[in-house]
Symmetry: C2
């Protein structure tokens, strides 16, 4: 038996807090676990399977949720970014990424042999991406060559910063550059609609933020892009080339569908999640552990700078692993083993009691070592 | 509750018979269902995660099983083909595919903008791919431009034909063209090793043939290709570009690992599976339903030509859906609704009793309608 040792822990790992399954999703796992079981009644196209109700999900529910014209499920946010970039890529062309972009945005661009221009963040301690910097970088880069796409990470996966996406979308429009919003930490956590942002593409992650098993992602776009990104094979007329026919042909899609009613409801409670995050950050600041990024913070993903924990790690018996072991003892999981000075965590989905428990755990750890 | 209506049926759908989960895999589903749970102790690279034992599986067990130097898990066989093609593609270059190739081989080539040359099969009734035809097509195509890859489907997904892969590999070597063997219906069902074939790449499918939930595939290669196909990012030194960093970051990988001890054992019983298939084909031939493709047949995936069922469908009350409904009544699933004249099925993993039950079902159906 391959056992998961951390399964009864309080989980504060940002990549995991939004991906915990609902009870409905757990049932779907067992019901649709067999390979290719979702293809029982397939007539040749994943998006058109009516039993189980994939057609309705991809063609009705998901576009409505994302506020877009056309949606697809894909293997993950990174694969969605790649398929858009790959569809738009041209020889010697450029892509503009925000300086807080996930590493996979770079990798996807590299895989497409695109030149990358970066919009720098404001540096320590806020690391903000400013709209006016997008304008500057677009201005410079369009002089160097064709810019086929801009990407904005909303929020980014390090600081949980939420840039002014509407203004950035407007700037991209002015430069006639389509904008992809990587909302892997937004879709399924907080309210967000492509049409309200007025960008061209929106990308979400099932395993990161939609209570789904991985790997699965969602891609929404405006109608005008569908014929390019979802272009069909010359030989197999109903098959979309970028999806290689069908994408998530398995159980992750069923967990996404099973959790979806819950996910639609939970985004309405986003204010409460922000409150919990801010409360937690204030408790950490009381311990002189500094919260970096947007302040006050607007997202459950938070980055901390703990000079005191770093100092402790220099003398602690377990060295830089002391924090990991202390938290493990308290059955808290999610801060990478070895980190003490800089680390991120997420309070998403924790009860207020759990938020207090985690905040207290840090307090106890700081006090324990500072007394020694 | 999203219920799967066919779950207690006898399943003869070729894409499903090899993907049914083991009990161990079902346990893994629940244990590792939460999104990104396998990343609990990740240090930055999927292939190096030691808890759960992914490192050992990808770096030791899988290459040994595939008989290759280097292996990776990917989202599926089609994604494996794409990443190899995408790594080798050049402007105006060619790829050679067998005429029985899965449609996704074409799509992957199309996605890479490769020109496609096809090795024709021998046509009705055997549809064989002959080694000498590979030589002919390679000869013609190398005159037109650079051939960056040849693909052989072994067996193909329509007829279950097993071409002379070793001879074809030898021919490709003579033309200095790397060969990818798409063994989505072989790896996990029958014994097969890349080094024995002496090809360059081998591709398998977890959800098709390795008792795994989908989507997941495996890719094995000779050492010399690793630096090309698994080339690393310039900016993120430990991340492989074609995998966009990490591929199957979720539960399908855990089901693959959980079922693996069983899969290693079951391939040793391949002779018995071939016996069952041949026995079933003989029973169908007694009903004047003709088995096409290799004869005697060497694989559980079989294609049938049933002129009599087609004649019945012209008069039956449910028309061309009569066969589907008759089989459904007998709790047999897997022949596409609407097919009567030509259809494929698989006897893989059925007990001898079930094989008899399915053969008898066809007999009863033929007799019932022929008496009317």
């Amino acid at each position: 038996m391959l056992e998961r040792k951390t399964k009864n822990f309080i989980n504060i790992d940002p990549i995991q807090t939004g991906g915990r399954l609902t009870e409905e999703a757990k049932k779907a796992l067992l019901e649709w676990g067999d390979g290719y079981s979702i293809c029982d009644f397939c007539q040749g196209k994943l998006e058109e399977i009516k039993n189980p109700p994939i057609y309705n999900f991809i063609n009705e529910e998901l576009p409505k949720f994302l506020g877009c014209d056309v949606a697809r499920v894909v293997h993950g946010a990174r694969e969605a970014k790649f398929m858009v970039m790959h569809s738009l890529a041209k020889k010697d062309a450029w892509i503009v990424l925000d300086g807080n972009a996930h590493y996979t945005s770079y990798l996807a661009a590299e895989r497409c042999k695109l030149n990358v221009a970066e919009v720098p963040n404001t540096g320590y301690p806020e690391f903000k991406i400013k709209a006016e910097k997008y304008a500057e970088v677009l201005d410079e880069t369009t002089k160097k060559g064709e810019v086929v796409l801009a990407v904005l990470t909303y929020p980014d996966g390090n600081y949980g910063n939420l840039p002014d996406v509407k203004r950035i979308a407007k700037i991209c429009k002015d430069y006639d550059v389509p904008l992809l919003v990587n909302a892997a930490y937004a879709v399924g956590r907080m309210p967000i609609k492509l049409k309200e942002i007025n960008a061209d593409f929106i990308v979400g992650s099932g395993h990161k933020s939609m209570a789904s098993t991985g790997p699965i992602g969602v891609l929404g776009m405006k109608e005008e892009w569908a014929e390019i990104v979802l272009r069909k094979s010359k030989k197999y007329k109903n098959k979309e080339i970028e999806l290689l026919g069908c994408s998530v042909r398995g159980v992750p899609l069923m967990t996404l569908i099973a959790s979806f009613p819950h996910v639609k409801e939970r985004v309405k409670k986003w204010d409460e999640e922000v409150k919990k995050a801010r409360y937690f950050a204030s408790k950490m600041e009381e311990l002189e552990i500094k919260q970096l990024g947007d302040k006050p913070h607007n997202h459950d993903l938070m980055f901390f700078h703990a000079e005191n924990l770093y100092e402790i790690s220099k003398k602690a018996k377990k060295g830089r692993y002391f924090l990991y072991h202390e938290l493990k003892r308290k059955k808290i999981h999610g801060i990478k083993p070895g980190l003490t000075r800089y680390f991120k965590l997420s309070t998403y989905g924790l009860s207020w009691n759990e938020v207090d428990y985690v905040a207290n755990a840090f307090k106890e750890i700081v006090e324990k070592y500072q007394l020694n």
